[in-house]
């Protein structure tokens, strides 16, 4: 069972849990399990086309899955999955 850490504002959709233990051999399977259990999380993490939203990054321990095998990244019971947004901005653009 891998542990998925839930960002604070999304805990309202995960029965207020700050982490959830889920079974799954890959990141994709675990996230599928997560959004299957907590349906409201799906629209926050995935676009209507079923892809992870552009600002959503997923880390396995300290590694960004884009530099691993993306959603096919294998997981073990000791792994922790974190959901981290991309954030930028600035006064430019009014």
């Amino acid at each position: 069972m891998a542990k998925v850490l839930i960002p604070t504002p999304l805990r309202q959709y995960s029965d207020k849990l700050d982490s959830v233990e889920l079974s799954g051999a890959t990141v994709g399977e675990v996230l599928g399990e997560l959004t299957g259990r907590y349906d409201e999380l799906r629209r926050h993490l995935y676009s209507d086309e079923g892809k992870l939203r552009s600002f959503v990054n997923v880390y396995v321990n300290d590694e960004d899955i884009r530099y691993l095998q993306r959603e096919a990244t294998p997981l073990t019971d000791k792994d922790t999955v974190s959901i981290v947004p991309s954030i930028a901005g600035g006064a430019h653009g009014d």
Partner: protein, 140 residues
Amino acid sequence: MIRIEKDAWDRMVAHARSAYPDECCGAMLGAIDNSHKTVKVAVELENAYQGERGNRYELRPEDLLRADREARRQGLDLIGIFHSHPDADAYFSATDLKNSCPWYSFVVLSVKGGEFDHAACYLPNADQTAADSEELVYPN
């Protein structure tokens, strides 16, 4: 409504002033009680934007991940992001909106001539097409 405690606010303003004329950025840690948010700790993060940082900022996701871990370690939650607008008002720009995330409160500090001027807080929507204002309370 989001209220920022004095120690956290002092750090945010000091970070904005020291980064001037560049934009600063950071994370706000605290607690949420229904719709009332309290910021207890401000964490300065590096502006990682590769280019002119006078009107742009970028957070490294790894830095945000560390801030989230720090929050959990202290029994707090990561509840918001702050950044500064040097010599500009505390509006939520098109750039802010396009690169935002709907999960957090976004505090913008206006710094004019190197001194804090005013601040505002925003809640962007999931599609990054609009941001509502959120009532912001900070020490004078």
